[in-house]
Amino acid sequence: MTRASGATPESGAAPESGATPESGATPTYQPGGMPPLEVRDVTVRFAGLTALDGVSFTVEPGTVHALIGPNGAGKSTCFNVLSGVYRATSGSVRLGGAELTALRPHEVAALGVARTFQNIALSPRLPVRDNLLLGRHRLTRAGFVAAGLRLPRARREERAHEARIAEIAAFVGLGDLLGTPVGLLPYGVRKRVELARALAMEPRLLLLDEPVAGMNSGERVEMAELIVSVRESLGISILLVEHDMGMVMRLADRVTVLDFGRRIADGPPAEVQNDPKVVGAYLGTEEGL
């Protein structure tokens, strides 16, 4: 999978990456291009409820980082802070030089942060192609006038990005479904459309909110393979919320565990798995908290 030339979000990327934008299957991994995501002491309060309490973790460039915890631990709140949907009460989230907590969702998206939703958030009546093209929104220009008058500029842009969408769809295994309205697709396939739409943004950081929730075991395996190949071929950082422990342990390079809005563990999967606090949070022992 090649990065579309001109679609690379980094402006001051290393010269060799700019020189070979069309290199083949081997990813052009830009050392300066993938900044770490640093979450520092983020607290979120809704009226009296503290949903996140001083949570810190770092997603290293090009890794898969898992965020786990029992229901109500604050994982989704954390995702909503990272994508600009919720405002943090205090704390900071930095991606490279940018502070994300002060930005609105579309400004966060403009920095190359893409996310999927736990409950599928696609337009059911639009075909897969249009849903994926929405992911190109930040990379395209056509406004009301250009689209309304069908200016040559807008048509060219549409064609170029449709070609890229076809590549991404093929990569995710949706190649022959581009014209099908999303509402007609089965659940597992819609989950993949969500992932493809996020990839269509050419992100630097991908936030996946329970990508295999509600899937059968075959679909789970396929999705896990897909996530691995996304990381390998694109070299982007992935932050993953997931309940499927087997999948987390297989995929993640590092795991952060939340419980009642607090971070209770952070480390490599094998280490976290045996942490008594984590076991306590999931199984409910008295010394767990």
Binding site: S83, G84, V85, R104, P105, H106, V108, A109, A110, A114, R115, F117, A121, L122, S123, P124, R125, L126, D130, L133, L134, G135, R136, H137, R138, T140, R141, A142, G143, F144, A146, A147, G148, L149, R150, A154, E157, E158, R197, M201
Partner: protein, 363 residues
Amino acid sequence: MSRHLIRAGVLAAFVVVPFYLEGFWLQAGLFAMSAAVGAIGLNLLTGATGQLSMGHAFFLAVGAYAYVYFAAEPTGSLGGLGLPTPLAAVLAVVLSGAAGGLFSPIAGRLKGAYLGIATLALIFLGQHLLFNAGPVTGGFNGRAVPPLELFGFVFSDAPELVVMDVPFGALERLWFLGGAVLLAAALFARGVLRGRPGRAMNTIRDHEIAAGVMGVPVARYRAGVFVLSSMYGGLAGVLLALVFQRTVPDYFGMLLSLDYLAMIVIGGLGSVGGAVIGAVFVSLLPQLLTRYGDALPLVAAPGSGDGVSPAEAARLLYGAAVVAVVLFLPGGLLGLLHSLRRRLPGLRLPLSANPTPSPETRS
């Protein structure tokens, strides 16, 4: 191939109409065209973006009255700028957009039904201005509308014009203007809906948070669509004023806004075709009832007391139509047409199992 044939047929029928139909039907058709332009605008906002507006009548009023004010020569108590009429028409549309722009801080922040409530205020503001800003609007009596003059061609009855033994008055001339305006408005809206803005709008409707996260500046888009929809309303108002030849303040009230909402619901939300079909249905129904009211039970001339007036009967009928569409036809009349078209080949299937080819397949 067949699509081209259908288009050519529609065009031919459109051109032939003014040569055969009387003024009553031409006027009804022109009202429908104006309504279609306005409904396309409202469908961009309400159908495609999910933003309810009860204030569409206000923007029609802005368009209609702005055209009159810009185009009319000042006379006595009534003001006017006396601008060339095409320029006045363009400025009227721009002014409607500007009025929408003034409202856009609200239109950008409020969503769905909340915007609907806020836009109600526009109706009352509009009615107050129309009745009280006498020097501009003519108050209760309204104002006469100066005919449009395009490159020396006047859209009125005055210089007589006979084409193929048919006298071409204002309505016949406006028929072609209205058709051209509607076609341009429809093509522009279709381009918007099928392009990048349309995808963003649909996602704002279906999933506001997802739209933001995918990089769509939601508030800016809502405000932008509101302005665009206001300009369509203004254009519909200009066309309406030209056809009606007089602006009447009462007309631009709440009922007109409701009519427009009925149009897009009945025709089909979110599409250009749906807006046009709904506009034709809602604006022709009262005319049909007026014309053929004598033959219908329960419909009587207004004021006679024997039954409901044609206008009331029409409202009752399309009120029922709205309910029927919401219950049974989620895609509106346009959705019904699409599903009929899909089903027709299905109906023919048993026939085509027959070894002898049907005439259609042979050709």
